[in-house]
Symmetry: C2
Amino acid sequence: MQGLHLTADLHDCQCDSAWLTDASRLIEHCECAVLRAGLQPVARLAHAFPAVAGQPAGVTATVLLAESHLCVHTWPEQAAVTLDVYVCNFGGDHSAQAQALLAGLMDLFIPRQVQRHSLQRGALPARVPGP
Amino acid sequence: MQGLHLTADLHDCQCDSAWLTDASRLIEHCECAVLRAGLQPVARLAHAFPAVAGQPAGVTATVLLAESHLCVHTWPEQAAVTLDVYVCNFGGDHSAQAQALLAGLMDLFIPRQVQRHSLQRGALPARVPGP
C-alpha cells in the first residue's frame, strides 16, 4: 500500500471544451494516457452529469489501475479540472509513471494555473529502536 | 471544484477479512455508507485482483459522487486499506459529510493504526489587491 498520490487542480484550461464534457472521449483518452505512462488499467468508469440550463455539465472519469487509480473531474463552467493519480509500490516503484501520467493529462487540458500536491502514502511511522 | 480531500491509510485492520477480498460485498457497503453520510452516489465500480498462490488478493471499490468520489483499495495480505473521500463544494459545503463517510468506513475496517491527511483543493491563491 506504500506509494505516491499526486493531485493537480487545473484552472483556466485552454483545451477544446469537449474534453471537459464528453465522457466517452475523455475516458478513452485517460486509458490511453495510462498505457502510455507505463501503468496497467484494469477497469474504467465515466459519468456525465446532466446539462444545466442547456449547458453541458462536467464529467468524472476514473481508471482503476493494477497500481491503484486515476480520477479526473471536470467543471466546464469554470474551465477547471482536478486530477488524482495514486500508485502503490506493489511490484516496484511507480512514481515516475505517475508523474508521466499527470504530465500527459496536463498537456491535454492546457491549464493557465495549477495547484499541485504530492503525498507519500501507507508508510508506518518509524518505530524507536528498543534498548 | 473547491472542496475537501480526505485520505486515511489503515494498518492492521481487525475486521472480517471478507471486507478486504469480497468486491461485491465491499462496493455494496460503500454505496450504503455514502448514502448514510448524506452524499449522492451516481455510479460505482469494483475490481477484484486475481488470487496469488491460492490466497485471495485485494479489491478496489470506487463510488462516483455528485460531490466527487470515494475510492477504497484493500491489501488483505497486509490487513491494510487506503481510503480517499473527495467532496467539492458545488451546492454547499460537504465537509461534514466527507468526515462522516470516512468515519463510517474506519468503523467497518477497525484499524489499529491510521495515517490521515486532509487537503483543501481547488482554491486559487489570493490575488494581491491592485492600487
